[in-house]
Subunit: 286 residues, 2 copies
């Protein structure tokens, strides 16, 4: 595995690798965990060349958010990526993706404004913009994302389709700790007391899915189930629980077909999100 | 030359042509004139495969603008493109570039808001968005534009650079009629009386350049020279005359180095723009 900093070097290297090769891109913000590694392993199986980008994207963090404290572990990330069979670990500087005088933004409209977008104004504009840059610069055949960031996947799908990038998105199931907590780079910032109650997020979503499996179809009953599951643990501050259409993310009052249940909480200074799909036949997300 | 409608067909065709070939793209809105043909000839000389897109982009027209009456001459455009040595004439439908549910916009910020942007709100957002789609979909090595649309070139340069597209922009000098009128698809919509006075636009810009060559450096004197040249022809309604920095398009009060002089007029229902660069050594625009 080779670590490359400059975009120009990466582009020259990919050109030299030879055309006609399938290039797989795994965009990450580093602090790699099992979820990221699952994306890399899949990319390794499906592509000729695997590129992992490691870039903590400033434009998707709002004022007062955790850009400065976001975990950064380049040395151990390099070891993990190498073991996962990655060919190129690309670690651009901010200037490489946002050159001096940068002004251009990519906005995906309504799907980026609700839920996470309401709590993190501008977040998905930053996500759509940086992923558009990655796709424009690298022109990957396939790009890999985790379903943990459900709304992010919707936003990237909208951007990719609307801007007519030929990149195929591969969305992989959330990888979880033994106690159900979704893997996230932010988990390491949880204090022990917070870490102890964090699994309540996924357990509450599971309880709601059980309700749904038993026939409950009313959004109010399902979201209240999650909320009451969370409120049993006072350190948890719920931000939102939303039952929505799995593609548009518009809120549903009643489930008629498929739905997705989204939730966000705060635990001290750490914000966590998770989701669960409610579908008769759980299709593989990829 | 082959005319292709569907993007998918074009993408499959370009893949089959073989990787490693240099693809040149000439984006047009059709109604091809000598200016377009100069771009095609240049692309033919510099690239292995020449693609001309012909798409009257709805999102760059404002309400009440001439989207419906914009000239459309597919049959003669096909003949002209073929004679210019084009390989593929791509004539997508609106749904192919703006699929159902399309929401994504590309905005280049300040450089798209002044001058033309003030008179045509949203125009350059439409331009940046559609060109981003063309570049994402086709991934051309080179793309060809005319200097007649000076601000458009600045907007596309900003978008291309910010989004990190590896496409090289080739900007070619404005092609003019014998009497100096810049070639434009809209010229054919000028009534004979309007066509007779239209060359005053470029002649006024030339007069200003003569002033500048004689040592005038004050923006006010230079723009007034253009304005008085235009006002000698009552059918001409001036929209703006602007002396600006050639890269940022910020207005200049005094010329210290290079500058560009932009002007827009109305002649009946037809809107025309033109520009002239004021530079000590007129570097070739490409």
């Amino acid at each position: 595995m080779r670590t490359i900093i400059q975009l120009k070097t990466l582009q020259a290297t990919l050109s030299a690798v030879g055309d006609g090769k399938r290039v797989g891109l795994v965009p990450t913000m580093g602090a790699l965990h099992e979820g990221h590694l699952a994306l890399m392993h899949r990319a390794r199986r499906e592509c000729d060349v695997v590129v992992v980008s490691l870039f903590v994207n400033p434009t998707q963090f709002g004022p007062g958010e955790d850009y400065d404290t976001y975990p950064r572990h380049l040395a151990s990330d390099q070891v993990k990526a190498k073991h996962a069979g990655v060919d190129f670990l690309w670690t651009p500087g901010v200037d490489d993706l946002y050159p001096a005088g940068d002004q251009t933004v990519v906005d995906v409209g309504a799907i980026g404004r609700r839920w996470e977008g309401e709590h993190r104004p501008g977040h998905f504009r930053g996500v759509a913009t940086v992923v558009a840059k990655l796709f424009a610069a690298i022109q990957p055949h396939r790009a890999y994302f985790g379903q943990k960031d459900y709304q992010q996947v919707c936003v990237i799908r909208q951007m990719t389709r609307d801007l007519r990038f030929p990149t195929t998105l591969r969305i992989l199931q959330t990888v979880r700790e033994a106690d159900g907590l979704a893997m996230s780079s932010r988990n390491e910032r949880l204090l022990p007391t917070a870490r102890a109650v964090a699994p309540a997020l996924y357990r509450s979503l599971q309880s709601a899915r059980t309700m749904w499996k038993r026939g409950e179809r009313r959004a109010k009953a399902i979201t209240e189930c999650v909320e009451s599951g969370l409120s049993a643990f006072p350190p948890i501050q719920g931000e939102y629980v939303a039952l929505c259409h799995p593609d548009t993310l518009e809120p549903l009052h009643q489930i008629t077909d498929k739905a997705v249940l989204l939730a966000a909480i705060r635990l001290g200074s750490v914000r966590l999100i998770d989701n669960i799909v409610l579908a008769a036949r759980l299709s593989s997300p990829d």
